[in-house]
């Protein structure tokens, strides 16, 4: 399944961040850092995405949106929490409206620290995410094979 790790598509959502990490995520796509040369494309459609970049500490109103985007993404999928707010709430962790970290809502695979996270760190996080993506793909393949075997056996009994 090389295609998935050679050209991962990502979706970015601002889960109540200050914008700092969001513009750094966008800066990754532009000529200075240019992740598109690795086949990474920023898509706006959750159904096209393999990697979910979430920034910000997620407030109450944003919980369903983050969950919805995560659920819409096809498996295997990887979540990268970008910036310290997404990791733990950061400077906002004492705010009344903040749940403090994306991992309270959806499972997170890679944590990228920094305020704001630097583009180099974000790219590094995405690359780490690729490892997780490959593993998940293998697990998924095993599950699918086992299911297929079980189905065939069941058919034989019939």
């Amino acid at each position: 399944m090389a295609y998935i790790t050679k050209s991962p598509w990502l979706i970015h959502y601002d889960g109540s961040s200050c914008n700092g990490c969001d513009i750094e995520v966008l800066a990754c796509l532009t000529p200075m850092y240019d992740v598109e040369r690795f086949g990474v494309i920023n898509t706006g459609n959750p159904k096209h995405a393999d990697i979910f970049l979430v920034t910000g500490s997620v407030n109450e109103q944003n919980i369903p949106v983050v969950q919805q985007i995560y659920e819409q993404m096809p498996s295997p999928k990887v979540v990268v929490a970008v910036g310290i707010c997404a990791c733990s709430g950061g400077v906002f962790k004492d705010c009344y409206n903040i749940i403090g970290g994306v991992d309270k809502v959806i499972p997170v695979d890679v944590y990228v620290p920094g305020c704001a996270a630097r583009p180099e760190a974000i790219i590094d996080g995405v690359v780490k995410g690729l490892g997780a993506l490959e593993k998940k793909q293998k697990n998924l393949d095993t599950v699918l094979t086992l299911e297929k075997v079980a189905r065939e056996e069941a058919e034989e009994y019939d």
Partner: protein, 359 residues
């Protein structure tokens, strides 16, 4: 009458870097009503004054927004300095002005890029953001951060820029001017770009005043409104004329921002020429106890900072009103009557900064 349909726009939408939700009531292809709902970024950081001491609040207020982060830090420091009657050394005021104007260039370039992406001109977006990196490099060299700096503190700034470095910055800005003129030529004269911008979303001067629009959005409709003229920072000693356009359409808003980039470059070069020598900060003793209102011209318009001290290390109240909060009513008024395909353009041309608005 055609059948009415409601189309949800956002919170997650390709042209929106930040979540805002609009319910667009449509009749065929025309918007008849736009109902905004916000609150996706509300963190409630004004409440943090109860948990953070006032010198530490600078870090929180800077994170109101990652794009005009320097301006917010400055605005907060300004209201506390006013509250306590602190005299900031002139060199610090000049340095703040230079950083604020660099911030304006970076913010407007960011906006130009997003707009180019919004009307589907991907390569223009890439070029604009490439130029923006030069400004971010200057920030990184002088403050250590690319988007969040924490360089401003109550009583001055944390770090000086040497005079050699300042003249180097002035030179870089001069070179950038040439590079940028090629780019802005495309924004202002390209036929396909003009097709998307000219005559779209016209806001008259009266409407801009009535809805309380601020910043480039208001100036593009002929409202001569620029807080920098009150002479805070070093602006009193620099010569500039606010940029005003009369048409009030998306093209005028784009033109105002482009001209402001060049104006900021000019202001930086003036400031570098005139900057006095001396200290960059003073020691601040005691705690704020009064009330003070400070106004700032952020890249998106007038921002308003209020602080009320309690005589202790914790402030009683801090209030920030940001420019986008003032521009959203104007946007909601602009949307009815436009085509669905123009909605992203209209939303973008007020340069919405949602994390500012909701704090």
């Amino acid at each position: 009458m055609a059948k009415r349909t409601i189309i949800p726009f956002g919170p997650q939408h390709p042209v929106l870097p930040e979540p805002i939700h609009l319910d667009l009531v449509m009749e065929d292809e025309t918007v008849v009503e736009a109902i905004p709902s916000i609150g996706f970024i509300h963190r409630g950081l004004e409440k943090l004054v109860e948990k953070n001491e006032w010198p530490e609040m600078v870090y929180v207020i800077e994170r109101v927004c990652g794009i005009c982060s320097f301006g917010h830090g400055w605005g907060y420091c300004k209201t506390i300095e006013g509250n306590m009657g602190v005299e900031v050394p002139p060199r610090a005021e000049y340095l703040r002005t230079i950083w604020a104007e660099l911030g304006r260039i970076h913010s407007h370039l960011l906006w130009l890029g997003l707009t180019a992406d919004g009307f589907g001109f991907e390569s223009l977006f890439m070029h604009t953001w490439k130029i923006r990196e030069t400004i971010l490099d200057i920030f990184e060299e002088t403050t250590g951060g690319r988007v969040i700096f924490s360089i401003c503190k109550v009583g001055g700034v944390r770090k000086d820029i040497s005079n050699e470095k300042l003249s180097e910055i002035s030179e870089i800005i001069g070179n950038l001017k040439v590079e940028l003129s090629e780019l802005t030529d495309v924004f202002l004269n390209d036929v396909s770009v003009k097709n998307r911008l000219v005559g779209v979303g016209v806001m008259t001067k009266e409407e801009a005043v009535e809805f309380g629009a601020v910043g480039p959005t208001a100036r593009a409709s002929g409202v001569d409104n620029d807080v920098r003229r009150d002479g805070h920072g070093a602006y009193g000693e620099l010569s500039f004329v606010p940029i005003v356009e009369a048409e009030g359409d998306c093209y005028a808003r784009c033109k105002v921002r482009i001209r402001e980039i060049f104006q900021s470059m000019n202001l930086i070069r003036q400031a570098v020429k005139q900057i006095p020598c001396g200290a960059v900060s003073v020691v601040v003793k005691g705690n704020p106890s009064g009330e003070y209102v400070g106004r700032m011209e952020q890249p998106r318009g007038e921002a308003y900072y209020y602080s009320k001290g309690s005589g202790t290390k914790f402030l009683e109240r801090i209030r920030v009103r940001t420019p986008t909060a003032a521009n959203i009513p104007a946007l909601v008024h602009l949307l009815p009557g436009c085509d669905l395909a123009d909605v992203p353009m209209l939303v973008l041309t007020i340069d919405p900064c949602i994390s500012c608005t909701e704090r």
